[in-house]
Amino acid sequence: MKVITAHNLTKRFGSFTAVDGISFEVEKGEIFGFLGANGAGKTTAMRMFCGLSRPTSGEATVAGFDVFTQQEQIKRHIGYMSQKFSLYEDLTVKENFTLFGGIYGMKPSQIRENFGLTVGRLGIEKYADTLVGGLPLGWKQKLAFSLSVFHSPEIVFLDEPTGGVDPVARRQFWEMIYDAADKGITVFVTTHYMDEAEYCDRVSIMVDGRVEALDSPRNLKQKFNADDMYGVFLYLARTAKRS
């Protein structure tokens, strides 16, 4: 099953073409890395997939819904987490999950059950009634991820989820991503850490609004004759004309 399909998807702002006819598909349960230099068009593309920005032309579906006509349904079926911590610091852990579960229309019984599973998995049962503001940063990041998949979305969009996180917590975070993917949640992730690109099933690299490369990390390294993903990225990013 395809969770994302995009065909010639384009977004223009006036005379500027931010996203220039991108086409690809993402499979259910896949960890899909979405890479590109600053200004390559990643954020604009991601906003279209999240139902936040209407494309100028082309076609795309997310979780089976059309990005032109079914933006509200898309928002109900996706999860989203950005680098900027987005839980309410002055609510407890439990209050945050109850609030977000309610917004997504989950039943109180379902919220209780999922919350029990979530804190169990994180090993933070004791802190359910602690204000989020007082928790260590590494935990907050993990909570934010757990919250983004709390309503069992078909796909979760992670926008630089590990920026600034310490190296141990960064690796624990990727173990959570693997778990989610094993449960069939598709993961769409951006990162500036090139080692993390290696953890994806497939990686796309955007340059000047276009997808210039898309394959497994292994095949990309072979194709561009590079030792690591850093080499691949450097090769492609240097071809960019935008600044």
Binding site: L137, G163, G164, V165, D166, P167, D228, F233, L234, S243
Partner: protein
């Protein structure tokens, strides 16, 4: 040029900077390497006289950060982590403003940042808010330099910036250093540590140690092995479960393994992993990130 002795800052019960001692020589490029919450920003705010310490003391160019704060403020340039220029002023107006604050002119000092400003000149009339991320960063660096400071404090200048622009930025810092400037720069990206003369590793308010990047790697405790095989997803978990393992962390397309140095432990490991296809185990040189993880 910069000297801190047991300096501390607490917020409520949190020790944001817990008794750090730092000596930075004139002309040195000194890196503070650590994740969010390490205390990097608080340390910069102490040295730039924006915060008062709760304990210890520090001097910049021989001047005390508490008593001589007015004098210190004239001799450093500071680039905060968050973009802090006036978005509705143009590139040139921002630069003129910062020059005027220090009673100098663009013309007098632009030669200091000519290589950087030459890339910005074609946008001179553009509002700063309308620049790309990379250009904003270059402008912020120019504004921090336009009064010809002796010391430059750069708080995470490359966070959220792609790897190509990051590399460019470090080249700019090397150019500035070659002109005799003292630079203290913080970053959460461990791979950037290589670019510094010396690096301090910091985490959770603690100062973990300082050395050259080469010595930091050389003083790594024990041996480090790289392990790779066809099915990477289970490999890390299996390595963590191996009895002689100290730590096993995924590292791009391999797993970095620290192991108790018993006789034959690597042979045992090979047997333990014999189900894996294309298994490769080799001893490697640690990276700064390995050193950091071994210390926290």
């Amino acid at each position: 040029m910069i000297s801190a002795i047991n300096i501390s800052k607490n917020y409520g019960g949190v020790r944001a900077v817990d008794s750090w001692s730092v000596e930075v020589k004139r002309g040195e490029l000194y890196g503070l390497i650590g994740p969010d919450g390490a205390g990097k920003t608080t340390f910069f705010r102490l040295l730039t006289t924006m915060l008062l310490p709760d304990g210890g003391s520090a001097t910049v160019a021989g001047m005390d950060i508490v008593k001589d704060f007015k004098k210190i403020r004239r001799i450093f340039g500071y680039m905060p982590g968050k973009f802090s220029l006036y978005e509705d002023l143009t590139v040139e107006e921002n630069l003129r403003f910062f020059a005027a604050l220090f009673e100098t002119t663009i013309e007098q000092n632009i030669h200091l940042v000519e290589e950087i400003y030459s890339q910005l000149r074609r946008f001179a009339d553009r509002p700063a808010g309308k620049l790309s991320g990379g250009m904003k960063q270059k402008l912020a660096l120019c504004c921090a330099m336009i009064h010809s400071p002796e010391v430059l404090f750069l708080d995470e200048p490359t966070t959220g910036v792609d790897v190509v622009s990051r590399r460019e930025f470090w080249e700019m810092l090397k150019t500035l250093k070659s002109k005799g400037l003292t630079i203290m720069v913080s970053t959460p990206y461990m791979d950037e540590a290589q670019m510094c003369d010396r690096i301090a590793l910091v985490s959770g308010g603690r100062f973990l140690g300082v050395d050259t990047p080469e010595n930091t790697v050389k003083n790594f405790d024990g041996k480090l092995f790289s392990v790779s095989a066809d099915s990477m997803k289970t490999l890390t978990a299996d390595l963590k479960a191996f009895p002689d393992t100290i730590t096993a962390f995924s590292f791009g397309d391999s797993v970095h393994l620290r192991i108790r140095d018993n006789d034959g432990s690597i042979d045992h490991l090979r047997q333990y992993l014999s189900n894996y296809k294309n298994l490769v185990i080799s001893e490697i040189q640690p990276a700064i990130e390995d050193c950091f993880m071994a210390k926290i």
